[in-house]
Amino acid sequence: MLRPLLLLLAATVLLALLPLVLGPFHVRVGLSMFLSAGLALSWYILGGFAAYYSFGHTVFIGIGAFAAALSRDLWVSGHWAGQLLLGVGSAACVSAAVAALIAWPILRLRGHYFTIAMLAVALVCAEAVSAFPVFQGAMGVSLPNIAPPGMRVERFYYWAALALLLVTVVIAMLIARARLGYGLYAIREDEDAAMMLGVPTTRLKITAFIISAALTGSFGALYAFNLGYITTDSVFRGALSLEMIVHALVGGMGSIFGPIIGAVAMTALTKVALADMLEYHLAITGLVVIVVVIAAPEGLIGVVGRWRRNRRHRGRNP
């Protein structure tokens, strides 16, 4: 546990120093990558560990975003660190609360039914946030800029996103090594057998669901702060749900670094390489999904692993 943690810390420090040498555009791209990676990893906690594929995780992004925006009075006056913590904190709490509320009925469903049910939850919440004026979803809510004076805005959010991503990775690593993780793997392999063997599947699933929701909500808050003005459409987006899944799949569902790698690769592809190929970027994303599913089902990590194994074999048999 210690070695990976040290490596992680080293990587984080390196990434944290990058904004000092990169231009603001690249800092923003990095920020996008951290947000996407964090979201994909948060989804993975439920989808990768337990194989409960949620197609509606954008609901937590939206809930987190609106929780942060609407709880403005709680944090608007105060030091920027307090603002950030309270904003993200209220997002995490509200997302966790909503998750806790729906967890038991929703997690009774298996397979495809769970998938559609989460989609339904996302759709219902999106419509509710628009339809009921108290949420201000249709008219939109503004969030004040909480970056400390003197610091460049994009750097502030870059570091905030990096910090939150680090927290998410550590939580994922802890889960993977704890009983919770092993229990979730058991659920993934064969839930009925796990139940019969005495694994407290319901409790474990609900825990994973709540953790996943809270983390997703936190990233939702950062997403909202970064945009500065949110409407229902900008945070309750089906595209965001699907991106989380695509990133995890493209990177590789076998490791917690899969979602991160997938998110970085896809963001680089769509925001940098394809930034000028505009008309077709949806089609290209679609083709990438199809190609990855057919040709590289274990994701990029799987491809690299296979390549290394082939090299080793070739080395032994010249």
Binding site: S130, A138, N226, L278, L282
Partner: protein, 411 residues
């Protein structure tokens, strides 16, 4: 050894010289450029509108570069360079790409489309102290943040449909009862609420109102209300798609009214074609029409702009191109007055004070940056004979309003 290096070096030099020699030279490439930056939706939900707006910008630039030989500012000639990238109708993508342009030193910005896309970008250009003149975001939220560098080519949403209400006051005999329908979004809702308040102010009777979601497949509730309450006029502040749905269902179900007004919709030829003879008499607002009788500092008249546009573009000419062109005309007028191309403070001040006549109409902004409600208010147009004709205000009128419109059941 030394011979091959010399040979290689000379080959390199020849290659470089050759590359420079064959580098394409287009139009007024030799002139330095004034760059206008920003993002536009070329794909996604707003793609069609994005393409129209972009066509408006590029047509003006083309005219200035090719026909006028560049814009003269402070004694030097410059070409106009419209450098817009695709934001795919995604606010997050928009702000990431805008950052690149801010980094690259672009100092003058044009806007994207829809309030949720424009507002986050306005925050960024405001922080960077660079002006943005845009024709895509009219929500009140944009103009109530205290921003100084953002300018909009029409009045804010809550005021933007006032001309529609005012056009009702000159109808004879005066209509009595109204039903107001609006889409629940940051633009149409304030528009709708503003319209209802103004109708009441002017002494009209609003007998019912409906708030619709953006995605809707059926409006039978509205039809039922029209049948039961028999209003004289139905006013819709709705998205293109909802407008089409409402018009179709009303016609199909013969929900007769004396006038149907839809803020968005009839401006596009496909709307009018789809409804055929049932489109006749539907009115809408238009921030601009090619028939406007204005004089313009670049093209001479609105007419000449419309002609030049038709000769050089395939995207159909609707009001978006006029509004977009107005942005460029505003910028060029201020640049000429200021005499410098990179003094963003002076340019901002120039925009804040501007008061000129252009192909778009009078350009004059309120202190908050949106269009002056009287001088930059929209015109009201009506479908007559398959075309749109301006029916209000009197100064721009092309034809008399068809009032009352022929009932659906009699077509």
């Amino acid at each position: 050894m030394s011979i091959s290096i010399t040979r290689r070096r000379s080959l390199e030099l020849i290659g470089a010289a050759g590359a420079v020699a064959v580098a394409p030279r287009v139009g007024a490439q030799a002139l330095p450029a004034i760059t206008f930056g920003g993002t536009i939706p070329f794909s996604g939900r707003w793609a069609e509108i994005g393409q129209s707006v972009h066509a408006g910008y590029t047509t003006v630039a083309k005219y200035v570069n090719e026909v006028l030989g560049g814009l003269e500012v402070g004694g030097r000639r410059y070409r106009l360079d419209i450098k817009m990238v695709d934001d795919a109708s995604d606010p997050q993508r928009g702000i990431t790409l805008l950052q690149r342009q801010l980094d690259d030193g672009v100092s003058l910005f044009l806007g994207t489309y829809s309030t949720p896309m424009v507002l986050p970008q306005a925050a960024m250009t405001e922080r960077a102290r660079r002006p943005m003149v845009q024709a895509g975001g009219g929500g009140d939220a944009i103009f109530t943040q205290g921003y100084r560098y953002i300018f909009g080519m029409y009045p804010r949403a809550s005021r933007s449909a006032f001309p529609a209400v005012d056009s009702m006051t000159v109808l004879n005999p005066r209509p009595q009862s109204f039903i107001v329908v609006y889409t629940n979004d940051p633009f149409s809702k304030p528009q709708g609420l503003g319209v209802m308040a103004r109708l009441r102010e002017r002494g009209f009777n609003v007998v019912d109102s409906f708030e619709l979601p953006f995605q809707l497949q059926d409006i039978s509730a509205v039809l039922t209300a029209v049948r039961d309450k028999k209003p004289d006029v139905v006013m819709c502040l709705t998205s293109d798609q909802n407008s089409l749905l409402i018009a179709r269902q009303m016609a199909q179900n013969r929900a007769d009214v004396k006038m149907l007004f839809t803020s968005l919709g009839p401006q596009t030829p496909s709307f009018r074609q789809g409804l055929g003879k049932f489109a006749e008499g539907i009115s809408c607002i238009s921030t601009w029409s090619p028939s406007f009788p204005y004089k313009d500092p670049i093209f001479g008249t609105t007419q000449k702009f419309a002609e030049y546009y038709q000769a050089n573009n395939t995207v159909p000419l609707i009001y978006h191109q006029g509004t977009a062109a107005g942005c460029i005309v505003a910028y060029t007028s201020v640049l000429r007055a200021v005499g410098k191309i990179d003094d963003t403070e002076a340019i901002r001040d120039g925009l804040a004070r501007i008061d000129i006549e252009s192909l778009y109409g009078r350009i004059k902004f309120t202190p908050e940056g949106d269009g002056d409600p009287v001088l930059m208010g929209s015109a009201v147009t009506q479908v007559q004979g398959g075309d749109l004709k301006v029916i209000f205000p009197a100064a721009l009128k092309e034809a008399n309003p068809i009032w009352p419109m022929t009932a659906w059941s009699q077509r």
